[in-house]
């Protein structure tokens, strides 16, 4: 499903994103990626969604070779990957419903399908009662849930979440993680980048630890070991 072989990403000669990464993630897995700031976690995520191309090595995501993926196929790939980024916010001038619908609109999905899918995904994240509120009218945790709902509209095979609980308190963090677990149970591969020790330890799933751009540990049922 996701396959890194001997991958390096060098932004500039002095600025190295990741180095010599070997990593394989199978369909249906729930993988946490941990590591200190600047260790290359976001770089890894950007390589998965073809926002960055590898400087060296092979990256394959659901069959696509990221090093040579044509521009046109990038949008096809991204419909198969749900993305949650810290800087990937809701649009403030649209309601939660409209925000989620927007992701379908710009992919040319018809209005009927939109009215069918959006309530479904809003229900998955428990926001069906707040669909007509604007982002500033809901809490940070609810905003993040709406972001997750938006990432689900194409029924992605992979969900990549880069610090989805970054600014949230323990209760909201817990709720978000429960939603991610639920999505994983539906069969979606989940890649979770996080700083949160409790989250990783309570998950008891595979943990990949990065340090200075390389994988220093990769354990099934792992713990946060920094």
């Amino acid at each position: 499903m996701i396959y890194f072989k001997n991958v390096s990403k060098i932004y500039e000669p002095q600025s190295i994103g990741v180095r010599d990464i070997h990593l394989q993630i199978e369909s249906g897995e729930f993988v946490s990626i941990v590591g200190q700031s600047g260790s290359g976690k976001t770089t890894l995520v950007k390589l998965m969604i073809a926002e960055e191309r590898p400087s060296k090595g092979i990256v394959k995501v659901s069959g696509w070779d990221i090093a040579s993926i044509p521009k046109k196929s990038v949008s096809v790939l991204r419909r198969q990957i749900g993305v949650i980024f810290q800087d990937f916010k809701l649009l403030h001038n649209k309601t939660l419903f409209e925000n989620v619908a927007f992701a379908l609109e710009v992919c040319g999905v018809g209005n009927e399908r939109i009215n069918e899918i959006v309530p479904q995904v809003l229900q998955i994240v428990g926001l069906e009662g707040k669909r007509d509120r604007y982002p500033h009218q809901v809490s940070g945790g609810e905003q993040q849930r709406a972001v997750i709902a938006r990432s689900l509209v194409h029924r992605p095979k992979i969900l990549v979440a880069d610090e989805p609980t970054g600014n949230l308190d323990a209760i909201n963090t817990h709720e978000i993680i429960e939603i991610l677990k639920k999505i994983n149970e539906f069969g979606t591969t989940v890649v979770l980048v996080t700083h949160n020790k409790e989250v990783v330890n309570s998950l008891r799933r595979r943990v990949v630890t990065l340090e200075h751009g390389t994988v220093v540990s990769d354990q099934e049922g792992g713990k946060y070991v920094l």
């Binding site: 969604i49 521009k71 046109k72 990038v74 949008s75 096809v76 790939l77 991204r78 419909r79 993305v83 980024f85 990937f88 916010k89 649009l91 927007f102 992701a103 609109e105 710009v106 992919c107 040319g108 999905v109 018809g110 209005n111 938006r150 990432s151 509209v153 194409h154």
Partner: protein, 304 residues
């Protein structure tokens, strides 16, 4: 497909309203540019008509001696009409020539008085020769001089209005040059303004664009609205210019009709006759200008 089109148009319209001030500025400067280009066209059309009017007044007038019989003159008329360079020949009888002469000098009582003193008509018959083009007059003149009829001619008058033609040409060139310079400057300004408008639009939509890219929107959805918007600018600018221009013509045309009385020329008529060529061409030119500026702005600020 239909969904994609209607949505892109919707997004484009939203863009338009979101930066309304900027959109209007862009259209305003485009209108100015088109108006100044129209001025170039108008000056050309006016100059051409003026030249035609002057040229139509060029002719060779041959005044025959009093005793030349009419049939000889008519025979001469026939030979002249047979020449390739001659466009037409009018025959004026002695009485008609006298009429014209009186008409021409009706404000000069001395001449009229002395004419009335004479019992006989002192003027001969006349032929008025018009050549095909202004350049042909020399040929026609020399052929007359070389012919057997030359001895029957009392007086040849040929006024080529060279001074006036030169003056019209000079004025036209000067006005045209100014208008063209202004048009070029405005075009450059318009280009920069469009570029900036699209740049600002991309900037105001950076969040939407980021969302679109990350959720896998096709390239058309990301760029389409900017393209449609730019075409919208071109179209509104041309339509607005048409309206403004025709209102302006209503005020100008009476003066022009007066100046060119008798020719039936009017700027409104000119623009009506060439409506699609002029305004269609201008729309095309403005659209191309817009598309180039937009491509540059998108290339620079909307890396996908």
């Amino acid at each position: 497909m239909f969904v994609i089109l209607t949505r892109t148009v919707q997004f484009a319209l939203k863009n338009f309203y979101r930066n309304l001030g900027l959109s209007l500025t862009t259209i305003f400067i485009l209108v100015l540019t088109i108006v100044s280009v129209n001025t170039v066209f108008s000056v050309s059309a006016l100059a051409q008509t003026a030249l035609k009017v002057v040229e139509s007044r060029i002719d060779i007038s041959l005044l025959f001696k009093i005793d030349v019989p009419e049939d000889k003159i008519l025979a001469f008329k026939k030979t002249l009409e047979g020449q390739r360079e001659v466009a037409g020949v009018d025959y004026l009888t002695r009485d008609q020539v006298l009429e014209q002469f009186k008409e021409k000098h009706k404000n000069n009582p001395d001449i009229i008085a002395s004419l009335n003193e004479l019992k006989e008509n002192p003027l001969g018959a006349s032929l008025v020769v018009r050549a095909e083009t202004t350049k042909d007059y020399d040929k026609v003149l020399s052929s007359i001089e070389g012919s057997e009829f030359d001895s029957m001619i009392e007086k040849k008058t040929f006024d080529d209005h060279a001074a006036i033609i030169k003056r019209i040409g000079f004025l036209t060139n000067r006005t045209k040059q100014t208008a063209i310079t202004v048009s070029i400057i405005l075009t450059i300004i318009a280009f920069l303004i469009i570029f900036n408008t699209i740049r600002v639009n991309v900037y105001t939509h950076r969040e939407e664009v980021r969302v679109m890219k990350l959720v896998g929107a096709g390239n058309w959805f990301v760029r389409g609205p900017f393209w449609i918007e730019t075409i919208l600018y071109s179209f509104s600018a041309v339509v607005l210019t048409v309206i403004i221009w025709y209102i302006g013509l209503r005020f100008i045309d009476p003066y022009i009709a007066q100046f060119f009385s008798g020719t039936g020329f009017s700027l409104t008529g000119y623009f009506n006759a060439n409506f699609w060529t002029i305004f269609g061409g201008e729309f095309l030119a403005v659209a191309i200008l817009n598309v180039i500026a937009t491509s540059l702005a998108l290339y620079k600020y909307l890396r996908v």
